[in-house]
């Protein structure tokens, strides 16, 4: 497909660009800067508000806002470089912007990396002619516990409100008042609470929106930037960690246009202070007569060796799915090759079948039809995917959601059945999926064979042959695929059933907080836990080895697209890292494992990734090509049927407890005080009908009871929720069983 080109002249330089290109981009192609503040193409159509981009267009008497123009054939443009009028216009804009700006650059977090500072330096007036008192506002105002707003610095570019309204669609940030008294606010000044709020800090071209975690923590000239990849969820957004004096000071986006488009969720952006949590374990702990006590590394490794030797092949390994591929591989070498302990508890099922339907996440935005199946809202499992879906919808795509809160209501566990129905040639939506050129399937929830069921559907719909059609599975853990592959590749033997667990080796906090793993620990003779925090394993581990966080790790991680990405160590961990002691322990069992991630990676890559080098992964990793479809193993258990709502005794009928893991949950989130307001309320969501039958309205205190356990929560009537279900965040559901009785407290 050939693109129609137009020729434009910018400051006497002729440049050819595709028709429809914006003037700012066309000038950039000619190597000329048109300075901007409000213009940001990712925020939707240009608004022409700041007037920084004024240029002269031949044939038009008035200066024009360059950002709002698309180039036309033969257009002759003069920027401030060659037009005195445009230069005067830009200087005028800057003079006006600075009239009320406090110029408190010496104490402003943005100083040194501030577009207003930079553009004033390049285009602005040297002195002010403003001799009146500047506009003043109360400041800083907490927009939320995470974001401080300084209305005096604000230049009203409306980037933040546009993000809120047109990208995240949370509709919370608004402009209030009029004229010089215009100000950014949330409706009725409630805290800005939404999954993606932190992006407005990065969008702000001045120091008006600042992170409360970063405020006064560093200046750009005394920090280092480390490019790495977020490992807080399976999306793997590309990030930059700002480091000062060996500490992570903030996380910024590093725009991978196929993955995150420069957006981050608040979990990825704001959880880094957990690295320095008060209960972080920095030295090994060993259970003695008086309970757990700190011990030296020598003693700890001796103890570990002893436990491992005693247990031998009777060792079972519980993996978190948040390990790097290298850690999982190194553990596999130690435990499988060194001990012959091939039995592992993986965090979740994974499937290679999806490789035949691989697409970049950005393809979702191009889709005409998207079908999401599963029990969990996309935003809770893979937040950035939610933004891609919103963009797809804005571009006119149809989004069909089969789930408990979906457009096609479905009881919990009904997703596999929904996939089967969609594969039926007689199904109306299925027919349209078959016919579509650009369609995407997404499995968002537990079950489904790690993507196998949705891969089967994609296969049935004939997606292999269609480059615009694909399928995704949203795993619960950040590197489930990489960990499973690396563990499998570490030895050739098949997994053996262990009848008596002599030693349970628990790798990581996610495994340590998994109730199934804890149950297994009760049956094990001994337990070694690798964890970052005291609280997680103190009651049941015999030996605790300190773990590292993702910002402290070198290695690779495979995201939900199947894209292998490189993590770089942003800060040193407060303890030796996993590869270090795994290497040492492995040596004691006669297995050679390098303590260096890059060398371990070479070994992994030779077995799994056809010698793909770290250099090839680069700073923005490429997406591997699709592979031929290999039918996954069929479902081992028949898809459960959604429970029918109890009709005969509506007042006594039980509801199915739908547990979900909220985005803002987990050990890291719990350790950042500023993030607590983002955690889910202590509430239970009920459908309108179920609530009405029980005489419950939103805000009522209700009791959830099952098998002698009861939990009191606040009720919220959710009109989108399917009947027969009580939806509760995992952390509030405690040990409630699958069927619960819900009554007013």
């Amino acid at each position: 497909m050939s693109v129609e080109l137009v020729t434009v002249t910018v400051d006497d330089r002729r440049v050819q660009v595709p028709k429809g290109t914006g003037l700012v981009e066309a000038a950039q192609a000619a190597g000329i800067e048109i300075p901007v503040f409000c213009y940001e193409p990712r925020l939707g159509p240009p608004i022409g508000a700041c007037r920084m981009c004024l240029v002269e267009i031949e044939g038009i008497p008035k200066l024009q806002a360059g950002c709002t123009l698309t180039v036309q054939e033969g257009m002759v443009v003069r920027t401030a470089q060659t037009s005195a009028k445009a230069a005067e216009g830009q200087e005028a804009t800057l003079e006006f912007i600075l009239v009320n700006h406090p110029l408190d650059c010496p104490v402003c977090d943005k100083g040194g990396e501030c577009p207003l500072q930079d553009l004033t330096f390049r285009y602005g007036p040297g002195a002010t002619r403003m001799r009146f008192r500047k506009l003043t506002f109360d400041k800083p105002i907490p927009l939320s516990p995470l974001i401080a707003l300084d209305r005096e610095r604000c230049i009203l570019c409306y980037r933040c409100t546009r993000f809120s309204e047109e990208v995240a669609e949370d509709g919370q940030l608004v402009a209030r008042n009029r004229g010089a008294r215009s100000e950014i606010a949330t409706f009725e000044d409630v805290p800005y609470r939404a999954p993606f709020t932190g992006n407005v800090i990065e969008l702000c071209p001045v120091g008006a929106l600042t992170s409360t975690l970063y405020r006064f923590e560093g200046r750009p000239w005394d920090t280092q930037e480390v490019p790495t990849v977020c490992a807080a969820c399976p999306v793997g957004c590309n990030v930059t960690a700002t480091i000062r004096e060996g500490k992570v000071k903030r996380i910024l986006s590093r725009n991978h246009p196929e993955i995150d488009r420069g957006w981050l969720c608040d979990k990825g952006r704001f959880t880094y202070p957990y690295l320095r949590a008060g209960d972080r374990i920095t030295a090994p702990l060993r259970r003695g007569p008086r309970g757990l006590a700190e011990t030296t590394w020598e003693e700890a490794l001796d103890a570990a060796e002893e436990l491992l030797r005693e247990a031998g092949a009777g060792t079972v390994t519980a993996l978190s799915g948040s390990e790097t591929t290298e850690i999982a591989y190194a553990l596999g070498r130690l435990l499988r090759v060194g001990l012959g302990a091939h039995s592992a508890v993986l965090p979740e099922a994974t499937s290679d079948a999806l490789e035949a339907f691989r697409l970049p996440l950005s393809a979702i935005a191009e889709a005409e039809l998207v079908v999401v199946v599963g029990d969990d809202p996309v935003v809770e499992r893979a937040p950035i995917v939610d933004l891609w879906l919103r963009e797809a919808r804005r571009r006119g795509a149809e989004i069909a959601v089969f789930g408990p809160t979906g457009t096609h209501p479905l009881g919990p566990g009904g997703a596999a059945e929904a996939c089967r129905r969609l594969a039926d040639p007689g199904h109306e939506l299925g027919r349209r999926l078959r016919a579509a050129e650009r369609a995407v399937l997404i499995w968002s929830g537990p079950g489904g064979g790690g993507g196998a069921r949705v891969a089967e559907l994609a296969h049935a719909l004939g997606f292999e042959g269609k480059p615009g059609c694909g399928a995704f599975h949203l795993p619960a853990s950040p590197n489930a695929r990489g960990v499973a592959m690396a563990w499998a590749a570490a030895a050739d033997e098949d997994e053996a059933e262990v009848e008596h667990v002599r030693l349970l080796f628990v790798s990581g906090d996610d495994a340590a907080s998994d109730p199934a793993v804890r149950a297994l620990a009760e049956r094990a003779d001994a337990t070694i836990v690798v964890t970052m925090f005291h609280g997680l394993a103190a009651g049941w581990a015999d030996l605790i080895l300190p773990a590292t966080g993702w910002l402290e790790r070198e290695g690779t991680s495979m995201n939900l697209e199947g894209r292998l990405q490189r993590l770089r160590r942003a800060v040193l961990p407060p303890c030796p890292d996993e590869l270090g002691w795994i290497s040492e322990l492995a040596a004691r069992f006669g297995v050679e494992v390098s303590p260096y991630a890059a060398l371990v990676y070479e070994e992994v890559a030779a077995r799994l990734f056809r010698d793909l080098s770290l250099a090839e992964l680069g700073l923005r990793a490429p997406l591997p090509a699709r592979k031929p479809y290999a039918a996954p193993p069929p479902a081992t258990t028949p898809a459960s049927q959604p429970a029918a709502p109890a009709e005969e005794e509506p007042f006594l009928g039980t509801l199915r407890l739908l547990r979900y893991r909220p985005l803002f949950s987990g050990p890291a989130v719990e350790r950042v005080p500023e993030l607590q307001f983002q955690r889910p309320a202590r509430e239970v969501a009920l459908s309108e009908a179920d609530a009405e039958r029980r005489g419950i309205v939103s805000g009522d205190r209700v009791l959830l009871r099952s098998n002698g356990t009861s939990v009191e929560l606040r009720a919220r009537v959710d009109r989108a929720l399917v009947e027969g279900v009580a939806r509760v965040a995992e952390e509030h559901a405690l040990d409630l069983h699958a069927e619960v009785e819900v009554v007013k407290a």
Partner: protein, 445 residues
């Protein structure tokens, strides 16, 4: 020879109650609609184009040409009537709606037929409650009489923002959003209301349409001047003997309007200035009084026809005070979207306050002029320019008065009181002024 008080817009209002369908029919009302509906839609537009109806809202853009720009595809096309008359000094549309609402409705229906639109939205200034009621009753009558056919006319009341008279801000407001202008292009005929091609015209423009159809373009074009045929309702206010609305053909000299039509300056005082098109246009001096009131002539004289709102100022008035009042109004009404207008309007008020209070230095006059120059033509919509025109033109033409303030260290005209009879009390113009308006000068650095 004074022009005949030929009436097109207000025809029949003196003799009949045209607010009722019966009254309007008695003067031949809705005959033009029947005639237009018997014509092909394009023929109606051709007639409007041939009549060269220029937009009475202020810009003077020919209505027919606007209609020809409407993007043609299969989707709906909208007609929006701008009844958000808010310019200080303008009250022409108010009388059109109050006294002859059916003429506006008939104009809407003929235009809708011409552009093949089935949806008409009338965005009426919120403060025009009485006019809204009159229009609503008339619309109900027309609907009951089956005159609307398959056309829906929606009356939408504004909520008190001058900016919503700007066509794209009006569209935003109509869509339920914050009333702020959109960048153009795309222009409303291509992307307008709800993203669809939209024809937007002023009340007085649309209300002329029935007469064009009734008389035929050829006859209509004989009225007024060739570049701008037809009549306009001139709102004459300020220090004249008989302020009010007067419909006259375009091209009538300003002098005739001030002296013959409105009875001249009351009390035998001397004329100082005439603002020909509402508070937002550059001022004219008594020497420029022979300018004919039509778009091109007024523009040649350095001002604008605007909303045909003529504000007459006699020798008691302080031009600094008048500029300050205008600046306060535009500061209050600046929507805050773009930088030059949001910031510049406030800076103008600060400078003018300083000068008016006698604290100004000669350099402040130059700075005032320069701030005006830097605002002019830089804003997203015309409001930024509207805020500049009064200030810069008063300063240019009455600089001696500004200098007198600086030299005397006080206002030689008695300040605020000098505006009596010219503009409404400040509270009505700018509601509660922000507390910081005209704050004292900071200590020099």
């Amino acid at each position: 020879m004074p022009a005949e008080p030929l009436e097109l817009l207000m025809a029949g209002t003196a003799e009949h109650d045209l607010t009722t369908l019966e009254g309007y029919r008695a003067v031949g009302g809705y005959a033009a609609l029947a005639k237009a509906r018997a014509m092909e839609p394009q023929a109606v537009i051709d007639e409007i184009t041939a009549a060269t109806i220029r937009g009475r809202g202020g810009a003077g853009f020919p209505m027919g040409r606007k209609a020809s720009l409407l993007a043609k595809d299969r989707g709906p096309v909208y007609l929006v009537v701008n009844a958000d008359e808010s310019e200080p000094g303008a009250f022409k549309d108010r009388d059109v709606m109050r006294f002859t609402p059916h003429r506006l409705i008939e104009g809407c229906l003929i235009t809708a037929h011409g552009i093949e639109s089935r949806s008409v939205f009338v965005y009426i200034r919120g403060e025009y409650l009485h006019e809204f009621e009159v229009l609503r009753r008339a619309l109900a009558e027309a609907r009951e009489a089956g005159l609307l056919g398959d056309v829906t006319i929606v009356l939408h009341r504004g909520a008190g923002a001058y900016i919503c008279g700007e066509e794209t801000a009006l569209l935003e407001s109509l869509e339920g959003r914050r009333g702020q202008p959109r960048p153009r292009p795309p222009f409303p005929p291509v992307v307008g209301l709800y993203g669809r091609p939209t024809q937007i015209n002023n009340v007085s423009t649309i209300a002329l349409v029935p007469k064009v159809i009734e008389l035929g373009a050829e006859e209509f074009a004989k009225i007024g001047v060739p570049s701008a045929p037809g009549t306009a309702v001139f709102s004459i206010s300020g220090n004249v003997a008989r302020p009010g609305n007067y419909e006259r053909p375009l091209g009538i000299p300003l002098r005739e309007l001030v002296y013959d039509v409105a009875g001249g300056i009351a009390g035998g005082r001397r004329l100082k200035a005439v603002i020909p098109g509402g508070s937002s246009v550059p001022v004219l001096t008594p020497e420029e009084l022979d300018t004919p009131m039509d778009y091109d002539s007024i523009q040649a004289a350095g001002s604008f026809f605007g909303s045909a709102a003529i504000i007459v100022v006699d020798d008691r008035c302080c031009m600094v005070q008048l500029a300050l009042r205008a600046a306060q109004f535009y500061m209050h009404e600046s929507c805050g979207k773009c930088t030059p207008c949001r910031v510049g309007t406030r800076w103008l008020v600060q400078l003018l306050t300083k000068i008016e209070e006698g604290r100004g230095a000669p350099a402040d006059l130059d700075l005032l002029d320069d701030v005006c120059e830097r605002m002019l033509g830089k804003s997203l919509c015309a409001l930024g320019d509207f805020a500049v025109y009064p200030v810069s033109s008063y300063l240019r033409k009455y600089r001696d008065e500004f200098e007198a303030h600086v030299e005397l260290g006080r206002c030689p005209f008695g300040g605020e009181s000098s505006l009596e009879g010219i503009v409404a009390p400040v509270e009505q113009h700018v509601h509660a002024l922000p507390a910081d308006a005209g704050v004292p000068e900071a200590a020099p650095l």
